[in-house]
């Protein structure tokens, strides 16, 4: 069971601040989606609205074709995982797990136990006494074991150290393969998680900047390096994301796919064409100033 997500002309305002500005986005579902955006880009607000944690100021949020807000049939299939658990500091870890076990229709207790062991979660400790990493680990454990058809991880592994994060990626991928569902991962650690994404969505300043298959998006960035004049001639008229200059050499990052003919021309002009990593592409697309 996988859930498609659609957002139409979504606007979310907090007082005078516009966090999400007429965003339209469609996710077919049944894939692992990466949601990239800088701090304050509005991505958490979008995810909050999709998860029915908050209502949109205007516009539509549709999960499986219906509005999720206060829609019990949908909310029980949606799991919104953040880096901390929604529980009191005095609650014990096992009490928190017990609550999810009681309320989540697809909860897998065996799987939860395996994850608890893998992340070394102390069952009797109170939430307030947990380290930041343990809180994150508990959060993702709840999110994974809930097996919700739409599972959203909003920078859920912020506090976790590298080994724990990689353990999480492994568990996530394996469980997704065994139980396909719609997973949205919002992250800053693009290069770490990038290989898990089937599609990538980039949001900046409350608007959609890009949405494509990961490979297609990656292919859209090209770094053109060579003598300054040659580079300038080649990149004239193209969308430039950024550039660097060292003496007589210039390296310009452009956005847009190049045809084979254009590639040949570049090589003939003595230019080197290099790939742009997803992280760099993201940085360039969301940079403050663009030529």
């Amino acid at each position: 069971m996988t859930l498609p997500v659609e957002v139409k002309d979504l606007t979310i305002r907090y007082g005078d601040t516009v966090a999400v500005d007429g965003l339209t986005l469609g996710l077919d579902g049944g894939k692992i989606y990466g949601l990239l955006g800088r701090n304050g880009s509005g991505k958490t607000s979008v995810l909050s609205a999709v998860a029915a944690f908050r209502k949109a100021t205007s516009g539509a949020v549709l999960v499986d074709g219906a509005e999720p807000f206060e829609n019990a049939a949908l909310t029980r299939q949606i799991c919104f995982v953040r880096d901390r658990v929604d529980a009191q500091d005095t609650d014990q870890v096992r009490a928190v797990l017990k609550m999810s076990r009681a309320l989540r229709p697809n909860w897998d207790e065996e799987y939860a136990q395996a994850l608890i062991e893998r992340f070394h979660l102390p069952l009797k400790k109170r939430i307030g006494a947990l380290s930041r990493g343990a809180k994150s680990a508990l959060s993702v454990t709840l999110g994974l074991a809930a097996r919700a058809p739409l599972t959203i991880f909003d920078e859920a592994y912020l506090g976790m150290d590298a080994p724990s994060r990689y353990a999480f990626y492994e568990e996530l991928l394996n469980d997704y393969i065994a139980h396909p569902r719609t997973i949205i991962i919002s992250t800053h650690l693009i290069e770490e998680v990038g290989s898990l994404f089937e599609e990538v969505v980039i949001i900046d300043k409350g608007k959609l900047v890009a949405h494509d298959e990961t490979e297609a998006l990656r292919a859209r960035g090209v770094a053109v390096t060579g003598p300054v004049e040659a580079v300038d001639a080649f990149t004239a008229g193209r969308t430039v994301l950024g550039d660097q200059r060292l003496g007589g050499t210039r390296s310009t990052t452009v956005y847009g796919q190049l045809t084979d003919e254009e590639r040949a021309r570049a090589r003939d002009a003595g230019l080197e064409l290099g790939p742009v990593g997803l992280q760099d592409l993201f940085v360039h697309l969301t940079a403050e100033e663009r030529r």
Partner: protein, 241 residues
């Protein structure tokens, strides 16, 4: 799902609150037992100890339980896929249960104390006649305490919701408003001590039970519906700390 979600919420909440509620009453009853033993041995008192201790402390406890319902538990339920509506309905069942426990314990306490006072011959020293003198009184007390329990829980709940939704400043500012239903209910039942105090001060006679029930019912309805309306659209914020 074979069990409806509100029932699931009520059960989960009951399990979560069990130790707190049971613990509170255990302590309260123990303290009372100690005091009453002393009083019996001293041989003289001019008030009902149960009325004195039950007149305010348990109510603040109920208020506190109410406040925590939204602030401490709502995010957890929404985070587990429960709608605010189902949470509110389930928590209401829990409120009824906690209020029922309060009402039963309070009423039984009076009956027990009545027996103690009678056998220890303490009735004579009382300033005012003993509050619960007959079975009819007992039933009336049960009904009144049930409503009082519900209203303190509901108003505490409403208070917590205001804090959660509007923030600390407005939360504090709205406290007098959120306590209004409590005052009305207490006045309606001439409850010790708030209602009794107000009625006494204003020279109002103790209202008939039916009037009290009516005032309480209106108060509960008002508090509950406003709370429900505020909860239904509230945004779940990011967890801090």
């Amino acid at each position: 799902m074979t069990t409806s979600t509100p029932w699931l919420v009520a059960r989960t909440q009951a399990r979560a609150g069990l130790t707190t509620v049971a613990g509170y009453w255990a302590i309260m009853i123990t303290i009372y037992a100690v005091i009453i033993t002393i009083v019996v041995s001293v041989g003289d008192t001019d008030v009902s100890i149960w009325a004195t201790s039950g007149g305010s402390a348990p109510k603040y406890f109920l208020l506190a339980i109410g406040v925590m319902l939204t602030t401490a538990y709502l995010p957890g339920y929404v985070g587990n896929g429960v709608t605010r509506r189902d949470y509110a309905l389930g928590a209401s069942l829990y409120v009824l249960a906690v209020a029922a426990v309060y009402a039963v314990i309070m009423t039984l306490g009076f009956l027990v104390e009545h027996a103690i006072y009678s056998s220890a011959d303490l009735m004579g020293g009382l300033e005012d006649p003993y509050p619960v003198r007959s079975l009819a009184d007992g039933l009336g007390t049960l009904v009144a305490e049930l409503f009082v329990g519900i209203i303190y829980l509901c108003c505490g709940w409403l208070m917590g919701t205001c804090f959660y939704r509007f923030g600390a400043w407005w939360g504090i500012g709205l406290i007098p408003v959120t306590l209004l239903p409590v005052v009305v209910t207490e006045v309606g039942f001439d409850s010790l001590w708030l209602g009794y105090g107000i009625n006494n001060g204003l020279g109002i006679e103790r209202p008939a039970l039916a009037v009290g029930v009516l005032m309480a019912a209106v108060s509960v309805a008002a508090a509950w519906f406003v709370n429900f309306a505020l909860i239904r659209a509230v945004a779940i914020k990011k967890v801090s700390g």
